[in-house]
């Protein structure tokens, strides 16, 4: 990696309460790249994303974002600096309309910028304009996922952390979500994604990080990782080429 990394994790140890789950995890993400974080259940993938956004406990290590150490900053300060995080599961305001959800996405922006930002994401995701008055809780799973990404994209983050964005979606909607992630990265946003659909995620990723029991087990270009026999055995359970075709 020759350019300065968008995000650098230096021996990050993080978890909940008194239990560290991620242990001494180090990695660097190149600007504008898509990186998939792979690992079994309980490996600490979500914990790592939460540690980067600041919603759990850091036990040690450093998180360097655009040259600044941020591990002591609260989540809203990290968001202001350009880190967006879409957590796993439904993460919107179900009893508010789509338009109100987007307004909430503008929470850290000055009021004068709200309309422009909302117009911009509605132009990217026309579904949001069409369903602006509908309560978020009444959207389909895929639409809610798009809404949640749009809520974070309103602040134009330079790093986007996505936790299981395709969970519970139909194969068609999963494809739409992955295509959206690619579109976001094409704008220069660095993406770190945790996905149960490892195959789909690796196909759109530049690099992959493999995590086991809270530690970095393997890393490399996505292409190499998805052809690695150990990874295919553990996470893909079949021939990746077939699925890609």
């Amino acid at each position: 990696m020759t350019t300065a990394p968008a995000l650098e994790l230096v021996t990050v140890t993080a978890g909940y309460g008194d239990n560290p789950i991620v242990r001494e995890f180090s990695a660097r993400l190149a600007p504008g790249s898509i990186t998939t974080l792979i690992g079994g259940n309980g490996a600490g993938k979500s914990t790592l994303l939460r540690a980067i956004y600041g919603t759990n406990r850091m036990f040690g290590g450093q998180i360097v974002f655009q040259g600044e150490t941020i591990e002591r900053l609260p989540p809203w300060e990290r968001l202001k600096r350009g880190i967006g995080f879409v957590p796993q599961g439904r993460c919107n305001f179900p009893a508010m309309s789509v338009a109100e959800n987007l307004k909430m996405g503008c929470y850290t922006l000055p009021a004068a910028k709200h309309a422009v930002a909302i117009d911009r994401v509605m132009a990217s995701f026309p579904m949001l304009r069409a369903k602006a008055k509908i309560d978020a809780g009444n959207l389909s799973g895929g639409e809610q996922q798009i809404l949640e990404m749009a809520m974070v994209l309103l602040v134009e983050p330079s790093l986007l952390l996505l936790d299981e964005p395709s969970l519970g979606l139909s194969p068609k909607m999963q494809g739409d979500v992955f295509a959206t992630v690619q579109r976001i990265a094409a704008l220069g946003v660095t993406v770190l994604i945790v996905e149960q659909n490892v195959r789909g995620a690796l196909l759109i990723s530049d690099r992959a990080l493999v995590m086991e029991q809270g530690r970095l087990f393997m890393e490399g270009p996505a292409k190499e990782v998805r052809t690695d026999p150990r990874i295919r055995q553990a996470y893909l359970g079949g021939n990746i080429q077939q699925t890609a075709a």
């Binding site: 919603t55 202001k80 305001f93 508010m96 109100e100 909430m104 996405g105």
Partner: protein, 295 residues
């Protein structure tokens, strides 16, 4: 028993005004519950502080109602701020039991501190309006009741506008609906919780100031109100603000009707009998639950 239509109408009007004031308390309780997931058992004492503030402000303002009411609201908002910053701010989201002990303890301390300084003797509060009122046919309703009801309605309208159309208010609904999503969009939970407590305390102060000239003011006046308000919040569908308002007005009416025709002992018991029956029939309350719905 014969029911006189005029008497019934009089009870109904009194019931609606009392219900609106109950609603102010229930809505505040609902706001705090929505944002912090705690029941503020010291909520009734905020009302009592508002009533005492009204009682002490009136002589200073020369019995002028509105400036005294404004002072009472401001006073309880400051009290709410202090309570949040000294006690509630320390609560974590999963410390419901601790929140009960802290707020219940605070309630007891406030009652006894007020009793120590101002005695338990009930006070009758006079305002510029005295017992003047408006006569509609043979029905009479005092100005203090009319103004109390109007002030409550204005407060609800204001609260609706705040929760619906400002980021300040939307953030409260946001936290009530999804805490993690609130963090995702950069909301600072403690700032929003503090705002909610101060706003709820202000509503309580308004209720206290409005009730002061209608009922007797004592350090104990808020004690039973909290249980009634809690019942209303549950009957209205936990976290449903219009639900709590409707339940409160219904309660005010039922209380006045029952109090008007039966002995006073039935009045308080009736609320809880109704709560138990409602929860048997509809365990989630009468209206849709959660999310701090405003419409």
């Amino acid at each position: 028993m014969t029911i006189d239509a005029v008497y019934l109408l009089q009870l109904t009007l009194n019931g609606i005004t009392l219900g609106l004031l109950y609603a102010l308390i229930a809505v505040g309780l609902s706001l705090i519950f929505g944002v912090m997931e705690i029941i503020n058992f010291a909520h009734g004492e905020l009302l009592m502080l508002g009533a005492f503030a009204m009682a002490f402000a009136l002589p200073v303002t020369g019995l002028l109602y509105w400036p005294a009411m404004a002072a009472a609201v401001l006073c309880t908002m400051v009290a709410g701020f202090v309570v949040y910053e000294t006690l509630l701010v320390r609560l974590k989201t999963d410390e419901f039991e601790r929140s009960i002990l802290i707020t219940l303890g605070l309630s007891i301390v406030l009652i006894h501190v007020m009793q120590y300084f101002f005695t338990a003797t009930p006070r009758i509060i006079d305002t510029q309006y005295g017992f003047d009122g408006v006569d509609i046919g043979s029905i009479r309703i005092t100005w203090t009741r009319v103004i109390g009801a109007v002030a409550a309605l204005v407060a609800f309208a204001g609260l609706y506008l705040i929760l619906r159309f400002t980021q300040f208010g939307r953030a409260m609904r946001a936290i009530a609906q999804n805490r993690e999503a609130a963090l995702m969009v950069g909301i600072r939970p403690r700032v929003v919780a503090r705002n909610a407590v101060v706003l709820a305390a202000g509503l309580c102060g308004l209720a206290g100031a409005a009730i002061a000239p209608i009922q007797l003011v004592t350090p104990y006046m808020g004690q039973f109100l909290i249980f009634k308000a809690f019942a209303l919040v549950i009957i209205g569908g936990l976290g449903n603000i219009p639900g709590a308002v409707i339940a409160a007005i219904a309660l005010g009416l039922i209380e006045n009707w029952i109090g008007g025709f039966f002995t006073i002992a039935w009045q308080d018991a009736s609320v809880f009998v109704i709560m138990i029956v409602v929860l048997f029939l509809r365990p989630d309350g009468l209206f849709k639950r959660g999310g701090m719905r405003v419409g």
